[in-house]
């Protein structure tokens, strides 16, 4: 078999980013929250309300980079019985109904236990476009896993932060096939803090003339933070703010609409 180049096989996220390279909006949710079977409804609501792509959170008991909102959603989801096997079967079903690009986001340990190879294969057959595993070491990805992800037509999406040095950002840029996830402040998810050097970070990124686009995430919850992200980068990813809406409304469609009201100041 010839080695697949990720650009040649159809990938919904690739297709999206070919059409649209600014003012992108992505929403993160935790699979299995609020109900075990919410996944399909949430994807439907995101697609129906024009969200560009969705991040499906694979719940983990000890999410080091997440604040209380996503921690609690994850615990609830695990308590509801969510696991990778269950998630993939839900995503297989969703794939037949929806076209919105899906990216999986989570931590390495559940993926390790599932088996990285099996994970990649199942993600591919569930129509997943990409994967975000914030605790995957760069060197390990490059040495041991890159080929596996590329063969399965999965973009691997790296995070960068204001503390990531320039040479490392260049390295990440060279391994990136879709976009770079730019965390706009040194903080866990859901923390609403203004980075002192936050503006500087995007200024620096701009001057680096990277090959790939970057999309801003963490702390985006209203029109101010959204507009800033859009001004600074190709798009915005919002997570905790949406989980908060799900906490308040339970109905995914109403929750997405409420989120969009906040984001668009309607």
């Amino acid at each position: 078999m010839k080695k697949n180049s990720i650009k040649k096989v159809y990938n919904p996220l690739t297709a999206l980013l070919e059409k649209k390279r600014s003012r992108l909006l992505s929403v993160f949710f935790t699979a299995g929250f609020p109900e075990l079977e919410s996944t399909g409804q949430i994807i439907e609501a995101l697609e129906g309300n024009g969200i560009d792509f969705a991040e499906v959170g694979m719940p983990y008991s000890d999410p080091l980079a997440d604040g209380p909102v996503i921690q609690q959603a994850s615990m609830k989801a695990i308590g509801n019985g969510m696991g990778l096997k269950k998630l993939f079967s839900q995503l297989e079903d969703a794939r037949e109904k929806f076209t919105i690009p899906l990216v999986l986001m989570g931590y390495l340990n559940p993926v390790f236990q599932y088996g990285v190879e099996k994970f990649c294969k199942d993600a591919r057959s569930a129509g997943i476009s990409g994967v975000i595993l914030p605790d995957m070491p760069l060197e390990q990805y490059e040495r041991n896993y890159r080929q596996l992800f590329e063969e399965n037509n999965l973009h691997f999406i790296f995070l960068i932060t204001p503390t990531t040095p320039a040479d490392r950002i260049k390295k990440i840029d060279s391994l990136t096939t879709a976009f770079i996830y730019a965390v706009s402040s040194s903080s866990i998810t859901g923390v609403r803090k203004e980075e002192k050097g936050g503006g500087n970070f995007f200024e620096r990124l701009k001057q680096m003339k990277l090959n790939n686009i970057y999309i801003a995430g963490f702390g985006i919850h209203n029109s101010g933070t959204l507009e800033k992200a859009w001004a600074n980068s190709a798009g915005a990813i919002t997570g905790s703010a949406f989980i908060n809406k799900l906490n308040g409304y339970n109905d995914p469609d109403i929750a997405v609409k409420a989120l969009l009201n906040d984001l668009y100041n309607r």
């Binding site: 000890d62 080091l64 604040g67 931590y107 340990n109 914030p134 605790d135 060197e139 995070l159």
Partner: protein, 395 residues
């Protein structure tokens, strides 16, 4: 040698730094600087001075005559319980706090289980005038209240952790999250041989003073440098790493760690990681841990807060795999009984954690007259409530 990690921080396939990018710069700064600082002669002089005058080192290697008679071996207790603040934890804290100062850090973050590491950290921070924040699970705060009071008196901010199992694992999560939120000025002072590289190496090296002293002291007492056995309890593995250090792979000394079996390794209420765990990632390290088939970290149980942790330092995962050390589960009640036995025989009340190591005497076989060194990692003052409850049940 197995006791040192490779350049990537791996002991065989265990260890490494599986951390979110948000932590990368913090950990990388430490990785770049720790070795040269730890090896620098002015650092070592300063550390040795503090270990001698503030911590109270060397700690005695005490020949436990009555325990020896009862057990049929020559038993020496390495008296880490006599360190200032009551446990071996101060060895590591003193070394890391000096490292933090040399890195230009302005405040200290720590997690604690039994509160011993928290107290040690609060103590050195008081000495060095560093602001100190300690994360502690609410369940551990209940069972180790005297240590909470001590930390507060020493000026530390103690933050109650309500997430997850409300014990050491969650306190560690919260400490790491706090570090992510306050990167540049903060030093995360980890309390055991756990976490991402280079922490396991830093803590192992700073605790190696235990076996270094043991060699000299044993030579004086017995005319030989190597004991037949070294016994230590294993939570994250720091007192065990320190007491095994110079004897690892010497071909003469049998190294045995006591894991907390809780109510038994089949009971579902256990913290015996090596015995019942499997390979995975916890707190940035690839090691053995207690987890579900889905890779979710399991809640553990041990009567002793300091051993109630679902992971194990990667060094121990490696020593276990290579057969260079072995790890035996000890149940709650066996540890409590050992604590009472030691108290009666020797007039020494051990920490509940250390009592697990004492209990190994009834679980391992040894030749009559063997020389056995037991690391008495801490004293039992903090465990009075637990002992009292047990005492009431017995009478």
């Amino acid at each position: 040698m197995e006791i040192y990690p490779d350049i990537g921080g791996f002991y065989g396939r265990f260890g490494g730094a599986y951390i979110p990018e948000l932590l990368w710069a913090n950990v990388e700064e430490l990785r770049e600087k720790y070795d040269s600082i730890l090896s620098c002669s002015s650092y070592r002089e300063e550390l040795e001075g503090l270990l001698r005058d503030f911590v109270g080192r060397p700690t005695p290697l005490y020949f436990a005559a009555a325990l020896s008679r009862e057990s049929g071996a020559k038993i020496y207790l390495k008296r880490e319980d006599l360190c200032h603040t009551g446990s071996h934890k101060l060895n590591n804290v003193t070394g890391q706090a000096l490292l933090a100062v040399r890195m230009g850090k302005k405040q200290i973050i720590a997690e604690t289980g039994a509160g011993q590491h928290g107290v040690a950290t609060a103590t050195v921070c008081a000495l060095l005038k560093l602001p100190c924040t300690v994360f502690m699970g609410s369940r551990d705060m209940e069972r180790q209240m005297p240590n909470v009071t001590r930390m507060r008196m020493l000026g530390a901010r103690v933050i109650e952790v309500e997430s997850g199992s409300r014990t050491l694992k969650d306190a560690t999560n919260e400490a790491i999250r706090h570090w992510i939120n306050n990167p540049a000025e903060s030093y995360y002072l980890i309390g055991s041989t756990i976490g991402p590289h280079p922490y396991p190496d830093i803590v192992t090296r700073l605790q190696s003073v235990i076996s270094r002293e043991t060699i000299t002291q044993l030579e004086k007492a017995e005319g030989r440098k190597e004991p037949d056995h070294v016994l230590a309890c294993v939570g994250g593995g720091s007192n065990a790493a320190g007491s095994f250090y110079h004897f690892t792979g010497n071909g003469k000394t049998i190294l045995t760690g006591a894991e907390a079996a809780g109510e038994g390794t089949d009971s579902g209420k256990t913290a015996a990681t090596i015995c019942t765990g499997s390979e995975g990632i916890i707190h940035g390290s690839r090691t053995l841990l207690m987890q579900t088939g889905d890779g979710q970290v399991r809640e553990t149980h041990s009567l002793s807060a300091g051993l109630d942790y679902p992971g194990i330092g990667p060094l121990h995962a490696r020593l276990n795999e290579k057969g260079l050390a072995r790890y035996i589960p000890v149940k709650d009640h066996e540890a409590v009984e050992a604590a009472f036995r030691l108290t009666k025989l020797e007039g020494i009340i051990p920490a509940l954690e250390s009592a697990h190591a004492i209990a190994l005497l009834k679980k391992i076989s040894f030749n009559p007259g063997s020389i056995i060194v037991i690391c008495l990692s801490g004293r039992g003052d903090k465990d009075m409530e637990t002992f009292e409850k047990y005492f009431e049940k017995q009478t």
